[in-house]
Amino acid sequence: MDFSGLIQDFGPLTITGLAQGAIIALFALGYTLVYGVLRLINFAHSEVFLLGSYACLVVWGFFGLDQNSATPSVIAVIGFLLLGLVAAIVVSGLTALGVELVAYRPLRRRNAPPLAFLITAIGASLFISETVGVITQRNIKAVPPLIRPADVFVIGNMHVTNLQILIIVLALVMMFVLDRFINRSRLGRGIRAVAQNPDSAALMGVNKSRVIALVFLLGGLMAGIAAVMYDLKIGVTRFDAGFLLGIEAFTAAVLGGIGNLRGALLGGLLLGVLQNYAAGLFGTQWLHAASFVLLVLILLVRPTGLLGESLGRARA
């Protein structure tokens, strides 16, 4: 255990952890949204993220950008970023919808038991990630240096870079927008209605299938954004990138209280930061173990996560 190291690096570990946590949080939203409405662990959500992380690379590759390109001008960077985001969002959103249509909807029609959903989700996840694995020959795909990290401000030994700020701010903004959407808009009301009581929502004229599709789409959009941020931060993607980060995102969702949007944000940020602290304290090899230990401990105290589960599920 390296306490002095942790204290010395507390600032930097916090900021890098927050950046990672923000990505995890955006990713976790998809799990939470689907769970909130369908009470289903959408195992295939990790592949929604995965395809997003490839989509932006394909678009950038189309413009001749690769890991060895020089960083373009600011205007071009903004353009590329937007293009990449759009591509990732579209692909992730469509993937999420596709998974819902191919893997889940037929089961719902047949009134299948909950376990069956979990298993088709696993099947879909395997299918997508392994297909990507075969196509890419399980090689990594590297990301062009669109944003060259530069310090924006420095506090002590904590260097806060432009990329970190972009990731954290974007995550918070998206979270805010989504929260607003769910709580204020008409469509959002539909989502909450279905989440609270699917049957009576249907009676009140809410189209359940539409709402479910919408929820998958929203989760996909967020995963798409998370995927672009991930690419920029980590620098490569790989066929199993979704699976690895997906476990963390799912952990974060449960940690915060699955089905609860703010819980996902809290869980993601907390997980990102605490993983870094644990890595500082015990060594990087214990990073993932720490997140699970944390999860178990929190669930022992609060069996439904930190903020409890609710997607508009009002508790009396």
Binding site: R138, A279, T284
Partner: protein, 388 residues
């Protein structure tokens, strides 16, 4: 119920059809075996072709297959058949595949297994069957002390590469602050432990990461490296993690030198990190630069496979050629081949190969070179490291 059976049967039928097609393919291979002198035999590659360690395995297999193709071209026939056995690099898969391999009595020699773990699991089976193996990359020291007569490795074990890396850091880089980390693989940890031990007080910090493909965010390691004030970072591990770490180190504005073993000697490192970040990264390798040996291996490989030769491709190429030379010399049983290996003295592109009784390379012929990543992502021979 009946539907289930119907489905199950039709499923089996599909599998059967595919299998039948495959069986036809493979049986046609043996047609023209009689043409050249010692033809109709097989050499096997045993190692990962799929799974998470496939990339390393594919490097090796392609080097191996290139050698046999060139041999067959020279002979003008499909004299020697390539047999590939995919172990996924996994110890739990290896025994079953190895048993399948030993059932094929035409196999005279095996290039592989690439990893130490699968070697431990599969080599007893090869030993029992008496088929000689040459591993291009299993560097665990203890493998040679099992008393296996069929075991050979065409690469120096961890004990010789580690000291060389440490000597290079001390003598050439003259670094006084070194950070050492590894990926907890038997190979990476073994290497890092020796480096740590040899460098002593110059090591200002250590850490461990998860293995390739298990971790992508290295913020914590990077931070520790930066905070430690080290100007050299030795990483015991493979090129994917190393590339990622190099990229994230650069992003954190760390300007020191990343150094590693032969597991990082792969274009994949520069691919992951980007050439700009990878420049100056140094890898040690218990091998000589291929261009030193003359020949056209590098170009041939690129021409054949469309990619650059990777880590251990050259060693695998040499290993295959050792076997082929043995076949030319009339060693057409596994037993004879094994005896031949104990006497071989082969000048290959990566090394000169002479095996000791335990299957290790003759220490007196071992050379360790360093290679440096240049601005185009190639690994350029730097210098030979003398371990004092």
């Amino acid at each position: 119920m009946r539907q289930v059976f119907a489905r199950a049967i039709s499923g089996l039928a599909v599998i059967g059809l595919v299998a039948g097609a495959a069986a036809c393919n493979s049986s046609s291979d043996t047609g023209d075996s009689a043409s050249g002198g010692n033809c109709g035999y097989k050499l096997a590659y045993f190692g990962a072709l799929t799974g998470s360690s496939a990339n390393l395995g594919v490097n090796i297999e392609q080097g191996f297959e290139l050698a046999i193709n060139q041999y067959n071209e020279k002979k003008g026939s499909d004299c020697i058949t390539v047999a590939k056995f995919d172990s996924q690099g996994a110890p739990e898969v290896a025994p079953g595949v190895a048993r399948q391999l030993v059932a094929d009595k035409k196999i005279l020699g095996i290039v592989g297994p690439p990893f130490s773990g699968e070697s431990e699991a599969a080599d007893p089976i090869f030993e029992e069957a008496g088929i000689p193996t040459i591993s291009p990359s299993a560097t665990r020291t203890s493998l040679a002390s099992n008393g296996w007569k069929t075991f050979h490795r065409a690469v120096a074990n961890d004990d010789s590469q580690g000291p060389a890396a440490a000597a290079y850091i001390k003598d050439t880089l003259k670094a006084t602050k070194v950070f050492v980390a590894d990926d907890q693989s038997a190979y990476g940890a073994g290497l890092a432990d020796i480096v740590k031990q040899k460098l002593g007080t110059a090591v200002v910090g250590t850490d461990k990461t998860e293995a390739d493909g298990k971790q992508t965010d290295f913020s914590a390691v990077v931070q520790k490296v930066v905070s430690s004030g080290a100007n050299v970072f030795f990483y015991g591990g493979y090129y994917q993690n190393a590339g990622l770490i190099r990229k994230q180190l650069t992003a954190a504005n760390w300007k020191g030198t990343l150094l590693g073993g032969d597991g990082m000697k792969d274009a994949g490192l520069a691919k992951a990190a980007g050439n700009a970040a990878a420049v100056g990264t140094i890898v040690t390798c218990p091998c000589s630069p291929p261009e030193k040996a003359g020949g056209t291996f590098v170009a041939d490989y690129k021409a054949k496979w469309g990619v650059d030769a990777g880590t251990y491709s050259d060693v695998a190429y040499d290993a295959a050629n050792i076997f082929l030379q043995g076949i030319d010399a009339g060693n057409t049983t596994a037993e004879k081949m094994n005896t031949y290996l104990s006497t071989v003295n082969y000048q290959g592109i990566a090394n000169t190969y002479k095996f000791t009784e335990t299957g290790e390379l003759d220490p007196s012929l071992l050379k360790v070179w360093t290679f440096k990543f240049d601005a185009t992502g190639n690994q350029v021979a730097d210098q030979e490291v003398k371990v004092s």
